[in-house]
Symmetry: C2
Subunit: 284 residues, 2 copies
Protein backbone atom coordinates (compact mmCIF):
# COMPACT_ATOMS: atom_id res chain seq x y z
CA UNK A 1 0.00 0.00 0.00
CA UNK A 2 1.41 3.37 -0.88
CA UNK A 3 1.87 5.81 1.95
CA UNK A 4 -0.94 8.30 2.52
CA UNK A 5 -0.17 11.77 3.79
CA UNK A 6 -2.44 14.54 4.97
CA UNK A 7 -1.94 17.84 3.16
CA UNK A 8 -4.18 20.85 3.69
CA UNK A 9 -7.34 18.89 4.37
CA UNK A 10 -6.83 16.01 1.94
CA UNK A 11 -5.53 12.48 2.39
CA UNK A 12 -3.42 11.76 -0.68
CA UNK A 13 -0.62 9.43 -1.79
CA UNK A 14 2.74 10.74 -0.73
CA UNK A 15 3.93 11.00 -4.34
CA UNK A 16 1.19 13.55 -5.02
CA UNK A 17 1.90 15.74 -1.99
CA UNK A 18 3.01 19.02 -3.53
CA UNK A 19 3.31 22.48 -2.08
CA UNK A 20 4.07 25.84 -3.61
CA UNK A 21 7.76 26.54 -4.11
CA UNK A 22 6.94 29.95 -2.61
CA UNK A 23 5.90 28.41 0.69
CA UNK A 24 7.62 30.39 3.45
CA UNK A 25 8.40 27.07 5.11
CA UNK A 26 10.58 26.26 2.11
CA UNK A 27 11.97 29.76 1.49
CA UNK A 28 12.71 30.79 5.11
CA UNK A 29 12.06 27.82 7.38
CA UNK A 30 8.99 29.68 8.64
CA UNK A 31 7.26 26.73 10.26
CA UNK A 32 6.89 24.34 13.17
CA UNK A 33 6.67 20.63 13.66
CA UNK A 34 5.87 17.97 16.24
CA UNK A 35 7.02 14.37 16.32
CA UNK A 36 4.79 11.95 18.18
CA UNK A 37 4.49 8.25 18.72
CA UNK A 38 1.34 6.16 18.52
CA UNK A 39 0.93 2.91 20.40
CA UNK A 40 -1.82 0.58 19.11
CA UNK A 41 -3.20 3.44 17.05
CA UNK A 42 -3.31 5.96 19.93
CA UNK A 43 -0.97 8.93 20.04
CA UNK A 44 0.65 9.24 23.46
CA UNK A 45 0.09 12.67 25.03
CA UNK A 46 -1.48 14.01 21.85
CA UNK A 47 -3.12 16.89 23.72
CA UNK A 48 0.23 17.97 25.16
CA UNK A 49 1.84 17.92 21.72
CA UNK A 50 -1.00 19.95 20.23
CA UNK A 51 -0.93 22.42 23.10
CA UNK A 52 2.79 23.00 22.60
CA UNK A 53 2.26 23.38 18.86
CA UNK A 54 -0.50 25.95 19.47
CA UNK A 55 1.67 27.87 21.94
CA UNK A 56 4.59 27.90 19.51
CA UNK A 57 2.30 28.91 16.64
CA UNK A 58 1.26 31.91 18.66
CA UNK A 59 4.89 32.95 19.16
CA UNK A 60 5.48 32.81 15.40
CA UNK A 61 2.12 34.29 14.40
CA UNK A 62 1.03 31.11 12.61
CA UNK A 63 -2.79 31.10 12.38
CA UNK A 64 -3.71 27.48 13.14
CA UNK A 65 -6.49 28.13 15.63
CA UNK A 66 -9.39 26.60 13.71
CA UNK A 67 -7.66 23.47 12.45
CA UNK A 68 -8.89 20.14 13.82
CA UNK A 69 -5.44 18.62 13.97
CA UNK A 70 -6.51 15.80 16.27
CA UNK A 71 -8.96 14.47 13.72
CA UNK A 72 -6.46 14.99 10.89
CA UNK A 73 -3.81 13.00 12.77
CA UNK A 74 -6.20 10.13 13.59
CA UNK A 75 -7.42 10.08 9.97
CA UNK A 76 -3.84 9.84 8.72
CA UNK A 77 -3.05 6.97 11.09
CA UNK A 78 -6.18 5.12 10.00
CA UNK A 79 -5.63 5.76 6.29
CA UNK A 80 -2.26 4.05 6.64
CA UNK A 81 -3.69 1.27 8.86
CA UNK A 82 -1.01 1.92 11.43
CA UNK A 83 -0.75 0.60 14.97
CA UNK A 84 2.70 1.53 16.32
CA UNK A 85 3.58 4.68 14.44
CA UNK A 86 5.71 7.73 14.21
CA UNK A 87 3.78 10.88 13.34
CA UNK A 88 5.12 14.17 12.15
CA UNK A 89 2.95 17.26 11.90
CA UNK A 90 4.56 20.12 9.97
CA UNK A 91 2.91 23.52 9.72
CA UNK A 92 4.30 26.45 7.81
CA UNK A 93 3.15 29.98 7.21
CA UNK A 94 2.19 28.99 3.66
CA UNK A 95 2.69 30.64 0.29
CA UNK A 96 3.62 34.30 0.17
CA UNK A 97 5.11 36.95 -2.05
CA UNK A 98 8.66 36.69 -3.38
CA UNK A 99 9.79 39.77 -1.44
CA UNK A 100 10.08 38.49 2.15
CA UNK A 101 6.93 39.65 3.91
CA UNK A 102 5.16 37.18 6.23
CA UNK A 103 1.99 39.28 6.10
CA UNK A 104 1.50 38.20 2.46
CA UNK A 105 1.00 34.55 3.53
CA UNK A 106 -2.74 33.95 3.64
CA UNK A 107 -3.09 30.31 4.67
CA UNK A 108 -0.79 27.94 6.56
CA UNK A 109 0.38 24.70 4.98
CA UNK A 110 -0.40 21.64 7.08
CA UNK A 111 1.33 18.34 6.41
CA UNK A 112 0.96 15.14 8.44
CA UNK A 113 3.23 12.17 7.84
CA UNK A 114 2.64 8.85 9.58
CA UNK A 115 4.65 5.70 9.20
CA UNK A 116 5.20 2.41 10.91
CA UNK A 117 7.56 2.77 13.86
CA UNK A 118 9.96 -0.03 14.69
CA UNK A 119 11.21 0.60 18.21
CA UNK A 120 14.83 -0.13 19.08
CA UNK A 121 15.12 -3.73 20.30
CA UNK A 122 15.52 -4.33 24.05
CA UNK A 123 19.22 -5.10 23.58
CA UNK A 124 19.79 -1.45 22.64
CA UNK A 125 18.13 -0.31 25.88
CA UNK A 126 20.23 -2.82 27.83
CA UNK A 127 23.36 -1.52 26.17
CA UNK A 128 22.56 2.22 26.01
CA UNK A 129 23.53 5.05 23.67
CA UNK A 130 27.01 6.40 23.07
CA UNK A 131 27.22 10.14 22.45
CA UNK A 132 29.75 12.71 21.29
CA UNK A 133 29.89 16.39 22.15
CA UNK A 134 28.91 18.39 19.08
CA UNK A 135 30.93 21.33 17.77
CA UNK A 136 27.60 23.15 17.25
CA UNK A 137 26.25 25.30 20.06
CA UNK A 138 22.59 25.97 20.88
CA UNK A 139 21.60 29.59 20.97
CA UNK A 140 19.58 30.40 24.07
CA UNK A 141 19.51 33.98 22.75
CA UNK A 142 16.93 33.08 20.09
CA UNK A 143 13.27 32.23 20.69
CA UNK A 144 13.73 29.43 18.16
CA UNK A 145 15.79 27.45 20.68
CA UNK A 146 12.57 26.87 22.61
CA UNK A 147 10.41 25.98 19.59
CA UNK A 148 10.36 22.93 17.34
CA UNK A 149 10.79 25.07 14.26
CA UNK A 150 11.56 24.16 10.69
CA UNK A 151 14.96 25.77 11.31
CA UNK A 152 16.24 22.32 12.13
CA UNK A 153 19.49 22.19 10.21
CA UNK A 154 21.73 22.61 13.27
CA UNK A 155 20.22 19.41 14.67
CA UNK A 156 20.77 17.48 11.46
CA UNK A 157 24.38 18.69 11.27
CA UNK A 158 24.99 17.74 14.91
CA UNK A 159 23.52 14.30 14.29
CA UNK A 160 25.81 13.92 11.29
CA UNK A 161 28.77 14.54 13.62
CA UNK A 162 27.50 11.69 15.80
CA UNK A 163 27.11 9.34 12.83
CA UNK A 164 30.59 10.23 11.55
CA UNK A 165 32.05 9.41 14.98
CA UNK A 166 30.13 6.11 15.12
CA UNK A 167 27.99 7.37 18.02
CA UNK A 168 24.22 7.31 18.47
CA UNK A 169 23.67 10.95 19.36
CA UNK A 170 25.44 14.30 19.66
CA UNK A 171 25.17 16.55 22.69
CA UNK A 172 25.06 20.30 22.21
CA UNK A 173 26.16 22.89 24.74
CA UNK A 174 24.71 26.37 24.80
CA UNK A 175 26.74 29.51 24.17
CA UNK A 176 27.59 29.76 27.88
CA UNK A 177 29.12 26.29 27.86
CA UNK A 178 26.31 24.61 29.80
CA UNK A 179 24.54 21.46 28.62
CA UNK A 180 21.55 22.14 26.38
CA UNK A 181 20.25 19.02 24.68
CA UNK A 182 21.15 16.29 22.23
CA UNK A 183 20.48 16.72 18.50
CA UNK A 184 17.08 15.02 18.73
CA UNK A 185 16.51 14.36 22.42
CA UNK A 186 16.63 15.92 25.88
CA UNK A 187 19.29 15.01 28.42
CA UNK A 188 18.89 13.86 32.03
CA UNK A 189 21.55 12.89 34.52
CA UNK A 190 21.77 11.85 38.14
CA UNK A 191 24.11 13.59 40.60
CA UNK A 192 24.07 12.59 44.28
CA UNK A 193 20.79 10.78 43.74
CA UNK A 194 19.12 13.88 42.26
CA UNK A 195 17.65 13.80 38.75
CA UNK A 196 18.81 16.86 36.80
CA UNK A 197 18.03 18.23 33.36
CA UNK A 198 18.92 21.53 31.67
CA UNK A 199 16.28 24.20 32.32
CA UNK A 200 14.31 26.07 29.68
CA UNK A 201 16.72 29.01 29.84
CA UNK A 202 19.50 26.67 28.65
CA UNK A 203 18.38 26.90 25.03
CA UNK A 204 16.37 23.66 24.84
CA UNK A 205 13.26 22.41 23.13
CA UNK A 206 11.35 21.32 26.24
CA UNK A 207 10.13 17.93 25.00
CA UNK A 208 6.86 16.28 25.94
CA UNK A 209 8.74 13.15 27.06
CA UNK A 210 11.02 15.33 29.20
CA UNK A 211 7.93 16.89 30.77
CA UNK A 212 6.48 13.42 31.39
CA UNK A 213 9.67 12.25 33.10
CA UNK A 214 9.64 15.32 35.37
CA UNK A 215 6.06 14.35 36.32
CA UNK A 216 6.90 10.69 36.90
CA UNK A 217 9.92 11.28 39.13
CA UNK A 218 8.35 12.62 42.37
CA UNK A 219 5.82 9.76 42.87
CA UNK A 220 8.76 7.36 42.46
CA UNK A 221 10.59 9.16 45.29
CA UNK A 222 13.08 10.74 42.87
CA UNK A 223 13.93 14.40 43.48
CA UNK A 224 14.43 16.39 40.31
CA UNK A 225 15.91 19.74 39.39
CA UNK A 226 16.01 21.90 36.25
CA UNK A 227 19.45 23.34 36.29
CA UNK A 228 22.52 24.83 34.61
CA UNK A 229 24.69 21.78 34.11
CA UNK A 230 28.35 21.70 33.15
CA UNK A 231 29.72 19.11 30.77
CA UNK A 232 32.05 17.68 33.42
CA UNK A 233 29.01 17.09 35.63
CA UNK A 234 27.67 14.83 32.89
CA UNK A 235 30.93 12.88 32.61
CA UNK A 236 30.95 12.47 36.40
CA UNK A 237 27.25 11.66 36.72
CA UNK A 238 26.07 8.48 38.45
CA UNK A 239 23.94 7.77 35.43
CA UNK A 240 22.35 9.58 32.49
CA UNK A 241 19.70 9.11 29.81
CA UNK A 242 18.12 10.72 26.75
CA UNK A 243 14.43 11.22 26.07
CA UNK A 244 12.13 11.84 23.14
CA UNK A 245 8.74 10.55 22.00
CA UNK A 246 10.29 7.80 19.91
CA UNK A 247 13.18 6.47 22.01
CA UNK A 248 11.27 7.07 25.26
CA UNK A 249 14.00 6.77 27.95
CA UNK A 250 17.33 5.68 26.49
CA UNK A 251 20.34 5.09 28.76
CA UNK A 252 23.36 7.24 27.92
CA UNK A 253 26.40 5.16 28.80
CA UNK A 254 29.36 6.74 27.05
CA UNK A 255 30.46 10.23 26.04
CA UNK A 256 33.39 10.89 23.68
CA UNK A 257 34.59 7.34 24.27
CA UNK A 258 34.55 7.51 28.08
CA UNK A 259 32.00 5.80 30.32
CA UNK A 260 29.27 7.87 31.96
CA UNK A 261 28.61 6.53 35.46
CA UNK A 262 29.25 2.79 35.48
CA UNK A 263 29.11 2.68 31.67
CA UNK A 264 25.89 0.66 31.91
CA UNK A 265 22.23 1.72 32.28
CA UNK A 266 21.63 3.02 35.79
CA UNK A 267 18.90 2.03 38.28
CA UNK A 268 16.94 5.33 38.17
CA UNK A 269 17.02 5.22 34.37
CA UNK A 270 15.56 1.71 34.45
CA UNK A 271 12.93 2.73 36.96
CA UNK A 272 11.84 5.72 34.86
CA UNK A 273 11.78 3.72 31.63
CA UNK A 274 9.57 1.12 33.31
CA UNK A 275 7.28 3.82 34.72
CA UNK A 276 7.09 5.58 31.35
CA UNK A 277 6.11 2.37 29.58
CA UNK A 278 3.56 1.61 32.27
CA UNK A 279 2.05 5.06 31.67
CA UNK A 280 1.97 4.39 27.93
CA UNK A 281 0.28 1.01 28.54
CA UNK A 282 -2.42 2.45 30.78
CA UNK A 283 -2.97 5.58 28.66
CA UNK A 284 -2.35 9.13 29.85
Amino acid sequence: MSEIVYLNGSLIPRSQAQISALDYGFLYGYGLFETMRAYEGQVFRLDNHLRRLADSAEVLGLPIGTLDLKKAIMDTIQANQLSDARIRVAISLGEGETVPDPSTCKKPTVLILAGDYQPYPEEVYQKGFRVVVSSIHRNSGSPLSRLKSANYLDSLLARKEARTAGANEAICLNEKGFLAEASMSNIFLVTNGILRTPGQESGILPGITRETILELAPPLGINSLEDNIRLDELSQAQEAFLTNSLIEVMPLIEMDGKPVGSGTPGPLTQKLLTAYRELVRTGE
Copy 2:
Protein backbone atom coordinates in the same frame (compact mmCIF):
# COMPACT_ATOMS: atom_id res chain seq x y z
CA MET B 1 2.65 39.22 -17.87
CA SER B 2 2.58 36.55 -15.20
CA GLU B 3 5.80 36.01 -13.29
CA ILE B 4 8.05 33.25 -14.57
CA VAL B 5 10.16 31.24 -12.15
CA TYR B 6 12.89 28.71 -12.75
CA LEU B 7 12.30 25.39 -11.03
CA ASN B 8 14.54 22.37 -11.57
CA GLY B 9 15.42 23.14 -15.16
CA SER B 10 12.10 24.57 -16.33
CA LEU B 11 10.85 28.13 -16.73
CA ILE B 12 7.21 28.08 -15.59
CA PRO B 13 4.55 30.46 -14.32
CA ARG B 14 4.91 31.07 -10.62
CA SER B 15 1.45 29.65 -9.89
CA GLN B 16 2.61 26.28 -11.26
CA ALA B 17 5.84 26.12 -9.26
CA GLN B 18 5.29 23.13 -7.00
CA ILE B 19 7.73 21.07 -4.98
CA SER B 20 7.33 17.90 -2.96
CA ALA B 21 5.99 18.43 0.55
CA LEU B 22 8.78 16.03 1.57
CA ASP B 23 11.47 18.41 0.38
CA TYR B 24 14.09 18.67 3.13
CA GLY B 25 14.11 22.41 2.53
CA PHE B 26 10.51 22.49 3.70
CA LEU B 27 10.78 19.85 6.43
CA TYR B 28 14.10 20.91 8.01
CA GLY B 29 15.25 24.13 6.37
CA TYR B 30 17.97 22.09 4.65
CA GLY B 31 18.89 24.62 2.00
CA LEU B 32 20.72 27.75 0.97
CA PHE B 33 19.91 30.93 -0.87
CA GLU B 34 21.49 33.98 -2.46
CA THR B 35 19.92 37.37 -3.06
CA MET B 36 21.40 39.40 -5.90
CA ARG B 37 20.67 42.56 -7.78
CA ALA B 38 20.71 43.03 -11.53
CA TYR B 39 21.33 46.41 -13.14
CA GLU B 40 20.19 46.73 -16.75
CA GLY B 41 19.82 42.97 -16.93
CA GLN B 42 23.30 42.20 -15.55
CA VAL B 43 23.74 40.65 -12.11
CA PHE B 44 26.37 42.52 -10.11
CA ARG B 45 29.15 40.24 -8.86
CA LEU B 46 27.31 37.15 -10.02
CA ASP B 47 30.47 35.06 -9.92
CA ASN B 48 31.10 36.04 -6.30
CA HIS B 49 27.55 35.07 -5.33
CA LEU B 50 27.83 31.73 -7.12
CA ARG B 51 31.21 31.04 -5.56
CA ARG B 52 29.83 31.66 -2.09
CA LEU B 53 26.82 29.47 -2.85
CA ALA B 54 29.11 26.68 -4.04
CA ASP B 55 31.32 27.00 -0.94
CA SER B 56 28.27 26.91 1.35
CA ALA B 57 26.81 23.97 -0.56
CA GLU B 58 30.00 22.06 0.11
CA VAL B 59 29.68 22.73 3.87
CA LEU B 60 26.14 21.35 3.85
CA GLY B 61 26.82 18.49 1.43
CA LEU B 62 24.45 19.90 -1.21
CA PRO B 63 25.42 18.43 -4.60
CA ILE B 64 25.10 21.40 -6.97
CA GLY B 65 28.40 21.01 -8.81
CA THR B 66 27.06 20.36 -12.31
CA LEU B 67 24.27 22.95 -12.35
CA ASP B 68 24.67 25.84 -14.77
CA LEU B 69 23.21 28.41 -12.41
CA LYS B 70 24.59 31.35 -14.34
CA LYS B 71 22.61 30.41 -17.42
CA ALA B 72 19.52 29.59 -15.34
CA ILE B 73 19.66 33.02 -13.68
CA MET B 74 20.09 34.88 -16.97
CA ASP B 75 17.26 32.84 -18.55
CA THR B 76 14.97 33.76 -15.65
CA ILE B 77 15.81 37.45 -15.95
CA GLN B 78 15.15 37.36 -19.70
CA ALA B 79 11.93 35.35 -19.38
CA ASN B 80 10.59 38.10 -17.15
CA GLN B 81 12.01 40.87 -19.41
CA LEU B 82 13.69 42.48 -16.41
CA SER B 83 16.25 45.23 -16.31
CA ASP B 84 16.71 46.31 -12.69
CA ALA B 85 15.88 43.21 -10.74
CA ARG B 86 16.12 41.37 -7.49
CA ILE B 87 17.06 37.71 -7.87
CA ARG B 88 16.77 34.97 -5.33
CA VAL B 89 18.30 31.55 -5.87
CA ALA B 90 17.11 28.92 -3.40
CA ILE B 91 18.62 25.46 -3.35
CA SER B 92 17.53 22.69 -1.03
CA LEU B 93 18.64 19.12 -0.51
CA GLY B 94 15.44 17.97 -2.26
CA GLU B 95 12.90 15.27 -1.50
CA GLY B 96 13.80 12.57 0.97
CA GLU B 97 12.35 9.90 3.20
CA THR B 98 9.99 10.80 6.05
CA VAL B 99 12.44 9.56 8.69
CA PRO B 100 15.05 12.34 8.82
CA ASP B 101 17.99 11.07 6.77
CA PRO B 102 19.70 13.52 4.39
CA SER B 103 21.32 10.62 2.53
CA THR B 104 17.88 9.68 1.14
CA CYS B 105 17.68 12.95 -0.82
CA LYS B 106 18.73 12.19 -4.35
CA LYS B 107 18.42 15.49 -6.20
CA PRO B 108 18.55 19.11 -5.02
CA THR B 109 15.62 21.44 -5.65
CA VAL B 110 16.65 24.61 -7.47
CA LEU B 111 14.34 27.61 -7.52
CA ILE B 112 15.11 31.01 -9.04
CA LEU B 113 12.83 33.97 -8.46
CA ALA B 114 13.37 37.26 -10.26
CA GLY B 115 11.29 40.37 -9.97
CA ASP B 116 11.46 44.03 -10.78
CA TYR B 117 13.48 45.92 -8.16
CA GLN B 118 12.47 49.43 -7.20
CA PRO B 119 15.42 50.97 -5.38
CA TYR B 120 14.82 53.25 -2.42
CA PRO B 121 14.51 56.85 -3.64
CA GLU B 122 17.46 59.18 -3.09
CA GLU B 123 15.62 60.90 -0.22
CA VAL B 124 15.94 57.70 1.79
CA TYR B 125 19.72 57.66 1.25
CA GLN B 126 19.89 61.33 2.20
CA LYS B 127 17.94 60.64 5.37
CA GLY B 128 19.36 57.22 6.33
CA PHE B 129 18.01 54.19 8.18
CA ARG B 130 16.88 54.05 11.78
CA VAL B 131 17.59 50.79 13.59
CA VAL B 132 16.68 49.08 16.84
CA VAL B 133 18.71 46.51 18.73
CA SER B 134 17.02 43.12 18.39
CA SER B 135 16.28 40.85 21.34
CA ILE B 136 17.50 37.96 19.18
CA HIS B 137 21.15 36.99 19.31
CA ARG B 138 23.24 35.52 16.51
CA ASN B 139 24.92 32.24 17.28
CA SER B 140 28.57 32.27 16.28
CA GLY B 141 28.68 28.70 17.67
CA SER B 142 26.83 27.34 14.67
CA PRO B 143 28.20 26.99 11.12
CA LEU B 144 24.82 28.30 9.92
CA SER B 145 25.69 31.78 11.17
CA ARG B 146 28.20 31.98 8.31
CA LEU B 147 25.88 30.58 5.61
CA LYS B 148 22.82 32.04 3.92
CA SER B 149 20.75 29.03 4.86
CA ALA B 150 17.01 28.44 4.68
CA ASN B 151 17.10 28.62 8.50
CA TYR B 152 16.19 32.27 8.15
CA LEU B 153 13.44 32.66 10.71
CA ASP B 154 15.60 34.49 13.26
CA SER B 155 16.17 37.19 10.66
CA LEU B 156 12.48 37.52 9.86
CA LEU B 157 11.63 37.74 13.58
CA ALA B 158 14.31 40.38 14.13
CA ARG B 159 13.00 42.38 11.20
CA LYS B 160 9.51 42.14 12.66
CA GLU B 161 10.87 43.75 15.84
CA ALA B 162 12.17 46.61 13.69
CA ARG B 163 8.83 47.03 11.93
CA THR B 164 6.96 46.99 15.23
CA ALA B 165 9.24 49.72 16.57
CA GLY B 166 8.78 51.78 13.41
CA ALA B 167 12.44 51.32 12.45
CA ASN B 168 14.00 50.23 9.15
CA GLU B 169 16.23 47.47 10.43
CA ALA B 170 17.14 45.50 13.55
CA ILE B 171 20.69 44.93 14.71
CA CYS B 172 21.64 41.61 16.27
CA LEU B 173 24.45 41.05 18.73
CA ASN B 174 26.18 37.72 19.03
CA GLU B 175 26.12 35.59 22.16
CA LYS B 176 29.21 37.36 23.51
CA GLY B 177 27.49 40.74 23.27
CA PHE B 178 29.48 41.99 20.28
CA LEU B 179 27.87 43.40 17.15
CA ALA B 180 27.06 40.76 14.54
CA GLU B 181 24.84 42.08 11.75
CA ALA B 182 21.43 43.50 10.99
CA SER B 183 18.51 41.22 10.14
CA MET B 184 19.17 41.49 6.40
CA SER B 185 22.35 43.51 6.05
CA ASN B 186 25.93 43.86 7.31
CA ILE B 187 27.04 46.70 9.56
CA PHE B 188 29.94 49.12 9.14
CA LEU B 189 30.96 51.99 11.36
CA VAL B 190 33.72 54.57 11.52
CA THR B 191 35.77 55.10 14.69
CA ASN B 192 38.70 57.57 14.67
CA GLY B 193 38.54 57.62 10.89
CA ILE B 194 38.89 53.84 10.63
CA LEU B 195 36.21 51.79 8.85
CA ARG B 196 35.25 48.83 11.03
CA THR B 197 32.92 45.86 10.54
CA PRO B 198 32.32 42.72 12.61
CA GLY B 199 34.65 39.89 11.57
CA GLN B 200 33.60 36.47 10.35
CA GLU B 201 34.04 34.98 13.83
CA SER B 202 31.31 37.35 15.08
CA GLY B 203 28.54 35.12 13.72
CA ILE B 204 27.84 36.96 10.48
CA LEU B 205 26.84 36.10 6.94
CA PRO B 206 29.79 37.72 5.15
CA GLY B 207 27.87 39.49 2.39
CA ILE B 208 29.13 40.10 -1.12
CA THR B 209 28.43 43.84 -0.76
CA ARG B 210 30.40 43.84 2.52
CA GLU B 211 33.28 42.17 0.69
CA THR B 212 33.05 44.78 -2.08
CA ILE B 213 33.17 47.65 0.42
CA LEU B 214 36.26 46.16 2.05
CA GLU B 215 37.87 46.09 -1.42
CA LEU B 216 36.82 49.65 -2.26
CA ALA B 217 38.04 51.26 0.97
CA PRO B 218 41.87 51.07 0.60
CA PRO B 219 42.07 52.72 -2.88
CA LEU B 220 39.97 55.56 -1.42
CA GLY B 221 42.52 56.01 1.35
CA ILE B 222 40.18 54.53 3.97
CA ASN B 223 41.75 52.12 6.43
CA SER B 224 39.51 49.22 7.40
CA LEU B 225 39.44 46.61 10.11
CA GLU B 226 37.40 43.45 10.78
CA ASP B 227 36.89 43.53 14.47
CA ASN B 228 34.97 42.63 17.64
CA ILE B 229 32.78 45.70 18.12
CA ARG B 230 30.77 46.61 21.20
CA LEU B 231 27.32 48.14 20.92
CA ASP B 232 28.43 51.35 22.65
CA GLU B 233 31.13 51.73 19.98
CA LEU B 234 28.33 51.88 17.42
CA SER B 235 26.38 54.50 19.38
CA GLN B 236 29.57 56.57 19.69
CA ALA B 237 30.71 56.03 16.09
CA GLN B 238 31.48 58.99 13.85
CA GLU B 239 29.21 57.44 11.23
CA ALA B 240 27.75 54.07 10.29
CA PHE B 241 26.04 52.28 7.43
CA LEU B 242 24.41 49.03 6.38
CA THR B 243 25.11 46.99 3.25
CA ASN B 244 23.47 44.33 1.15
CA SER B 245 23.05 43.66 -2.57
CA LEU B 246 19.75 45.53 -2.73
CA ILE B 247 20.24 48.60 -0.52
CA GLU B 248 23.92 48.91 -1.52
CA VAL B 249 25.33 51.34 1.09
CA MET B 250 22.62 52.75 3.35
CA PRO B 251 23.50 55.35 6.02
CA LEU B 252 22.58 54.27 9.56
CA ILE B 253 21.68 57.46 11.39
CA GLU B 254 19.78 56.43 14.50
CA MET B 255 19.79 53.52 16.94
CA ASP B 256 17.04 52.93 19.51
CA GLY B 257 15.90 56.53 19.05
CA LYS B 258 19.34 58.09 19.56
CA PRO B 259 21.49 59.60 16.81
CA VAL B 260 24.54 57.69 15.57
CA GLY B 261 27.35 60.13 14.79
CA SER B 262 25.85 63.43 13.67
CA GLY B 263 22.49 61.76 13.03
CA THR B 264 23.01 62.36 9.31
CA PRO B 265 24.81 60.36 6.60
CA GLY B 266 28.56 60.67 7.10
CA PRO B 267 31.24 61.62 4.57
CA LEU B 268 32.92 58.19 4.31
CA THR B 269 29.51 56.58 3.86
CA GLN B 270 28.78 58.97 0.98
CA LYS B 271 32.19 58.33 -0.54
CA LEU B 272 31.73 54.54 -0.42
CA LEU B 273 28.18 54.70 -1.79
CA THR B 274 29.43 56.79 -4.71
CA ALA B 275 32.35 54.41 -5.32
CA TYR B 276 30.04 51.37 -5.12
CA ARG B 277 27.67 52.85 -7.66
CA GLU B 278 30.55 53.76 -9.91
CA LEU B 279 31.71 50.13 -9.74
CA VAL B 280 28.19 48.97 -10.58
CA ARG B 281 28.08 51.39 -13.54
CA THR B 282 31.40 50.24 -14.98
CA GLY B 283 30.78 46.58 -14.29
CA GLU B 284 32.90 44.39 -12.00
